[in-house]
Amino acid sequence: MVVGWALGTFLFVYFLAAPRIQQLRKSDPRKGFGAGPIPANTLYAEPQTLFADPLSSQSASSSNLMTTGVNHDTLLMVGWLDLSKGPRAVHVPDMNARYYSAQFTYPSDGPISLMLARTPPARARATTSSPVPSTAGNRADSLPEQCSARYRSRVRGERQRAPGRLCPCMQLTPLSQQ
């Protein structure tokens, strides 16, 4: 009995945060945000019409992660990294002093975040090669082979929130192509 308590407590506490990350995994790459599944190692930008009008632009078949947990501050670019076939490079265009951030979230550890430093314009490198998860400058080392990637960039003032070009998009490419 006591062993069962300990086991149940440990498992539940350990994985308590994980379901939400699994939800990200299911929503981002498998369900997409209105245009079908998002392949691994592909970044998908939140549709600008959805950002401008989150209540009526939502597709019934798409994930609702972009419109729940209300956040109307930043335009999201999301993707699921699979680094098993090599490191990837994130290219950040000139944001013209606009705020942006890059965040990696582990599937197994729940809401643990590693942030990349901002030195726009920047090329960031995501790799699994180092022994300790870390971020230094533009490197995110020792990421797990699979993790969620979320890039946020600030959207300009409200007058510019009408559908249109809200901000330049980041790109993800194999590091060998750099």
Binding site: V2, L16, A17, Y99, T105, G110, E158
Partner: protein
Amino acid sequence: MSRTYTFYFAALIGTICVVFIINLVFFEHARTVRNDVVQGILIGIGLAFASAQAYARIKATKVNGWITMFGLGVPGNGMLLRAAHAQYFPGPVNVPQEAMYWWANADGAGRTLSGAHDYIMHFPAGGLPPNDAFWSLTMGNAKNFYVQNPINRYSVGDRSGLVSNADGSVDIYIQHTGPEGHESNWLPAPSGNFILWLRVYIPGAAILDGTYTVPPVVKLK
């Protein structure tokens, strides 16, 4: 399930677990290995849920009705702290140096926020959230969804064109219908209960060291 009900649910689960354990210790039962394992895991899950809720309450900071937690998303957080954080701030939140988050479902006096009332949030001169990026105050309904409103405004912040008072202070009007003469500082609320989120990106030192206090949401008479 609202956060209030979640707390009561956790308290109920914890109580059931404690009663079950007392019953098990002080009364004789016919036991089998299978039953022990199943019951043990169920009790373990119940205890874990109640523990995470209790720990979240301990680790959360509540000032003026605003709830926040420090250390969100930091690599190296233990599993219990991660579980506690997930109770109040689920999802892939940023680390504190990147963003700090507060939410409130009650005004400064502890009364549930409702669109049936009008509220004001008063930032004294120089009292806007210190940051090196930007800040926002976002409205969510009781289920944390965006709220439909006639001006398509879902949040206000430093880029919203908020109009300061003559003394440099800033008032944000939080209500279901537009405040006459103060529409520029209006954050539309639903007719029912609602939740407010305050986010500060690249927060200043006063936020990170806990000395900055978010002003209360005050019900207007």
